[in-house]
């Protein structure tokens, strides 16, 4: 179970590393679309788009559904939240720490400048 979790996280990061795939996710964020629609929109061949959608589907970001002869893609949003949440948690912690660290460092800088000025007098 845990094993599965971390493999998935790795797959997710690989899936998001490509600009076209991020664009596809953004597009699906607005509305569901067929693979043909997406291929047109991103000026790719049907095969090329199928590959991208497949990577996204493997990583759980996209769900595809075949209705008649058309395969429709939509966001698998819950998964996306999970991945983003992992990075978000880490990012929040360190951004908060480093913003506080800025203040401490500013103070050290002022102290240093203050001492320098005193010595010059």
């Amino acid at each position: 179970m845990v094993q599965y979790q971390s493999n998935r996280i790795t797959a997710s990061f690989a899936a998001l590393s490509d600009a076209t795939r991020r664009g596809v996710l953004e597009q699906l964020g607005h509305s569901d679309a067929s693979i043909t629609d997406l291929a047109d929109k991103f000026h790719l061949t049907l095969t090329g788009m199928k590959k991208h959608v497949n990577v996204l589907e493997q990583a759980g970001f996209v769900i595809t559904e075949k209705v008649g002869r058309v395969r429709t893609c939509k966001l698998g949003l819950r998964r996306l939240e999970e991945e983003a949440a992992w990075i978000a948690r880490y990012h929040q912690l360190w951004a908060a720490r480093f913003n506080a660290l800025d203040d401490v460092i500013e103070e050290l800088k002022h102290q240093e400048q203050f001492h320098e000025r005193k010595q010059k007098k």
Binding site: V2, S6, E26, W86, L93, W94, A96, V104, L108
Partner: protein, 170 residues
């Protein structure tokens, strides 16, 4: 300009980046507008360190902070959080002022080895913090303890994944 005066202009906050480099590693980077010796000082003097390591937004209280910053020296941090207490401790493996710090996290088997480098350029310092965890599972679980105290919002998710439309889900 006297020392007690607050600066009127707040400089733009530098950006913190977080990247999972591999299954067991995460790298956090940030630039600071100060020479490396000052940034290093803020990481190695306990009275300074404890002022930023536990930001107010975490809702945690630091009960004690002891740091013996030299090779083989130990550190120990005790927190209280929502009535519970947590202790973090470990050993400094490398101490090279003002450019490099390496320490272990020994409070659990899932503790990482943390390497922090301070690289000065034109009066600014690029800080790179690299954490190597003993397993993929340990890294997956990391960042959930202390930082869970921070409230997640979709606003922050948007900041991280700007390519996704801000379509609220719930």
């Amino acid at each position: 300009m006297n020392a007690s005066k607050k600066s009127e202009t707040t400089p733009m906050k530098n950006r913190t980046t977080v990247e999972r480099k591999s299954e067991r590693e995460v790298v956090v980077t940030r630039t600071f507008n100060a020479p490396a010796r000052l940034v290093f000082e803020a990481w190695t003097r306990p009275e300074l360190f404890q002022r930023w390591w536990v930001p107010k937004s975490m809702g945690m209280t630091l009960l004690s902070c002891a740091m013996d910053v030299r090779v083989g020296g130990q550190y120990r941090l005790e927190f209280s959080f929502q009535g519970a207490q947590a202790v973090f401790f470990g050993t400094y493996q490398e101490v090279t002022p003002p450019s490099r710090l390496v320490w272990t996290n020994e409070e659990s088997e899932d503790g990482a080895v943390t390497t922090v480098t301070f690289e000065e350029k034109d009066g600014q310092t690029l800080l790179v913090m690299h954490e190597l965890y003993p397993s993929k599972e340990a890294l997956d679980a990391a960042g959930t303890g202390a930082s869970e105290a921070l409230v997640e919002t979709f606003g922050q998710l948007d900041e991280l994944l700007p390519t996704l439309g801000a379509r609220a889900v719930r």
